[in-house]
């Protein structure tokens, strides 16, 4: 094993943390006053304050979900979370102006480098707010709006007011209520009619402080006939106490538009990752969720698509890797609300070292939506006998003219595969890494190459030092 790899086998490559130099830090715990203070601090219009307060009240009344990993969920101590932390007074447009300690973090994560090479725009969020933001000039000239959500609300209040919370109402679930009450940061992206954004735009989310709660809010609107690929990455330091990441992401694909939203979530294993992601696809629009979950303590995330217009298409490709002490409860939901809509769901999960992965899916075809087609494939790979995989698929099919397929498989790495690869010069760990990368290949091939390479490296590292 190389020294490099050895060094990284502290389990988690991004587990470093930098000194915390906050300019504003709220006391831990959540009250209506905290919610009002956040809104006031951000100088928000009254309607947003009202939404926040209404959401807070709903959050307090709403019981915890009674499904999923309840024992882990009930361990969340909402009173021990910092709900707002400002680490820089403004969002910079040049990396040079970002405070050194924060810039240092993003340098180590390779973000400025990636931006120069292959991105159309970047938002970097540190704790509660964006510290850096940029977009290529040519995109701006075509009318593309790419801002952090706070700036989006300031500069385009009418668009935000029109769409905010329309895909995911605050009352959707306890965590969407929490997010709507205390949201901060996230991305606001608008693509004008007919504009195709060729290079992916990226948002990077970093939690640095202990017991931090990060509640970013993202709204993406692709106007008629436009297309965009949005990529998000997430990491956090490894602390012995828990952090909470609870985002809400709303996508709106107008007629004939295409949105691809790719995530590589690699939170440290002390982070609760409870995220609501949902899209609306209008006539002949396409929405693709490409969702990779490698890190976190508990992830509960089920990217959804409402196929509202005839001919709309949804694609959800997800992978989950559940290692020691991790539970990845992930899946996909597609609602066929119009005729001749189509969807593909591919879910791949790996459980290792006692980790648990669950697929939870919903496929709905309403009685009036005729001629729909859908295919769901769930594959689970279990690497040892301590680990676990479950599948909870739900199908509600309202008519007989629709065509649905569902396939599920659970497999183990065979000794024949290991022996074969080892006889070709691969160590047991390398062999495991190859098998795992191969298993995830249908997912990684959908990622921009730089991400795919990174993900493969990550998985290879996960395989190292852990085979006895």
């Amino acid at each position: 094993m190389t020294d490099d790899a050895q060094e990284l086998i502290g389990d988690y490559k991004y587990g470093f943390h930098d000194p915390e130099n906050s300019t504003i830090r709220f006391d831990k715990g959540l009250t209506e006053q905290v919610v009002r203070d956040i809104s006031e601090l951000k100088n928000e219009p009254e309607w947003m304050t009202d939404i926040r307060v209404k959401s807070y009240r709903h959050f307090v009344e709403r019981v915890m979900p009674e499904w999923g990993n309840c024992s882990l969920l009930n361990m969340i101590d909402f009173e021990n979370v910092t709900y707002f932390l400002r680490s820089s007074d403004k969002t910079e447009k040049s990396w040079d102006d970002v405070p050194d300690d924060i810039k240092n973090t993003f340098d180590r994560l390779g973000i400025p480098d990636a931006e120069q090479k292959w991105l159309g725009g970047v938002t970097a969020q540190y704790e509660s707010e964006a510290v850096y933001h940029s977009i290529r000039e040519d995109l701006e000239e075509q009318g593309v709006i790419f801002l952090d959500m706070d700036s989006g609300l300031k500069q385009y209040p009418e668009i935000v007011k029109k769409y905010f919370g329309t895909v995911i109402p605050h009352s959707d679930n306890k965590f969407s209520a929490l997010n709507t009450a205390v949201w901060s940061g996230g991305s606001f992206l608008y693509i004008p009619k007919g504009v195709h954004v060729e290079m992916p735009v990226q948002a990077y989310f970093r939690i640095n402080a202990k017991n931090m709660g990060q509640f970013e809010r993202t709204l993406i609107i692709a106007d008629e006939g436009s297309s965009v690929h949005y990529v998000e990455g997430c990491t956090a330091p490894s602390y012995s106490t828990d952090s909470l990441h609870s985002a809400v992401v709303e996508l709106i694909a107008m007629d004939g538009a295409k949105i691809r939203y790719s995530t590589v979530q690699n939170w440290s294993s002390n982070v609760y990752n409870l995220v609501t992601k949902r899209a609306v696809a209008h006539r002949n629009a396409t929405v693709e969720w490409v969702d990779g979950n490698i890190g976190s303590k508990l992830t509960m995330k089920y990217p959804s698509v409402l196929l509202k217009g005839e001919g709309a298409h949804a694609e959800v490709i997800s992978v989950a890797y559940a290692g020691k002490g991790q539970h990845q409860d992930t899946g996909a939901k597609v609602h066929h609300l119009a005729s001749n809509t189509t969807s593909n769901i591919l879910s791949k999960s790996i459980s290792k070292d006692g980790g648990r992965s669950s697929y939870r899916g919903l496929l709905q075809v309403t009685p009036k939506s005729t001629g729909c087609r859908s295919k769901v494939v769930c594959d689970a790979l279990i690497l040892d006998s301590d680990s676990r995989s479950d599948t909870y698929p739900t199908m509600e099919i309202g008519n007989s003219t629709s065509d649905l397929e569902h396939e599920a498989s659970v497999s183990k790495v065979s000794s024949d595969q290991l022996f074969y690869l080892m006889s070709r010069g691969f160590s047991e760990e390398e062999a495991m890494g190859l098998i795992v990368n191969g298993f995830f290949e249908p997912f990684t091939r959908e990622l921009p190459m730089e991400y795919a390479v990174e993900l493969n490296k990550l998985l290879e590292l996960e395989m190292e030092g852990s085979i006895g």
Partner: protein
């Protein structure tokens, strides 16, 4: 002077407590081709697998040496890196791993001075051409959905690229039509020139194309007779019963 590659001394092997190989000895020098023939269940494949280090096979007594070094100290991948190669009877499929990537990584971990970049591609192209393999092979997943013949060709392709000192060929001829057999045999002959070769087979037909220096008849986990190529013909003709009597 003979350059000894493989030496097996009084080897006993069990699988889950059942003895399969019962006192087998064999020495193979560089440049020699040995063929082991025997009925199903005689222990031929066990021999190939145990030499390569399959964990399911237990060496209960005896020793195996590769270039003078006792093999029990070496893990499977270390054996491969030392220059041992097994062409599998049933190669495992590795879904999602492309043949091209796999070959490149394998060559990089096994060969001492592995060719890189353009040099590797050149070597790869030449070997594939020799085996009449289409370029499209490289983007397929390793053995995934391959026909029997395609799997065997991929095994031989790996052998050509890995340039082993010892090649163990387990039933490489099964599932090949005559044209494919000819192509595969040509590959084996090329590698055999500079290495030690152990061919495990049921049939004479591969041995028409790859001339063995020695033929061993195996019954119940021991070599009961050793001869030249003529022994293979005799076995094909008479079967094994006559040896059983004399054993």
């Amino acid at each position: 002077m003979a350059d000894e590659i493989l030496r097996i001394e009084n080897l006993h092997v069990s699988v889950e407590g059942t003895p399969i190989i019962n006192g087998l000895s064999l020495t193979i020098n560089r440049g020699e081709i040995h063929a082991i023939m025997g009925r199903n269940g005689a222990g031929k494949s066990t021999l190939a697998n145990v030499v390569m280090g399959h964990p399911a096979y237990e060496v209960t007594s005896g020793s195996i040496f590769f270039k003078g070094q006792p093999l029990e100290e070496l893990e499977v991948f270390e054996r491969a890196r030392a220059g041992m190669f097994l062409s599998f009877q049933y190669p495992a499929a590795i879904p999602g791993v492309q043949v091209g990537t796999f070959l490149k990584k394998s060559v990089a971990s096994v060969r001492e001075n592995p060719p890189k970049g353009r040099a590797f591609r050149k070597e790869l192209n030449a070997a594939m051409e020799q085996l009449s393999m289409d370029k499209s092979f490289l983007s397929r997943y390793v053995n995934d959905g391959f026909s029997g013949g395609e799997k065997k060709r991929l095994e031989i392709l790996q052998m050509l690229l890995l340039q082993p000192h010892l090649a163990l060929l387990d039933e490489t001829d099964s599932g090949l039509d005559i044209d494919a057999l000819r192509i595969v045999a040509q590959g084996i002959n090329e590698v055999a020139e500079n290495s030690a070769c152990l061919i495990i087979t049921h049939y004479q037909r591969l041995l028409d194309l790859v001339k063995p220096d020695y033929v061993h008849a195996m019954i119940d986990g021991v070599i009961v007779r050793t001869g030249g190529p003529e022994l293979a013909l005799e076995l094909e003709d008479k079967g094994y019963d006559w040896l059983e009597v004399s054993a």
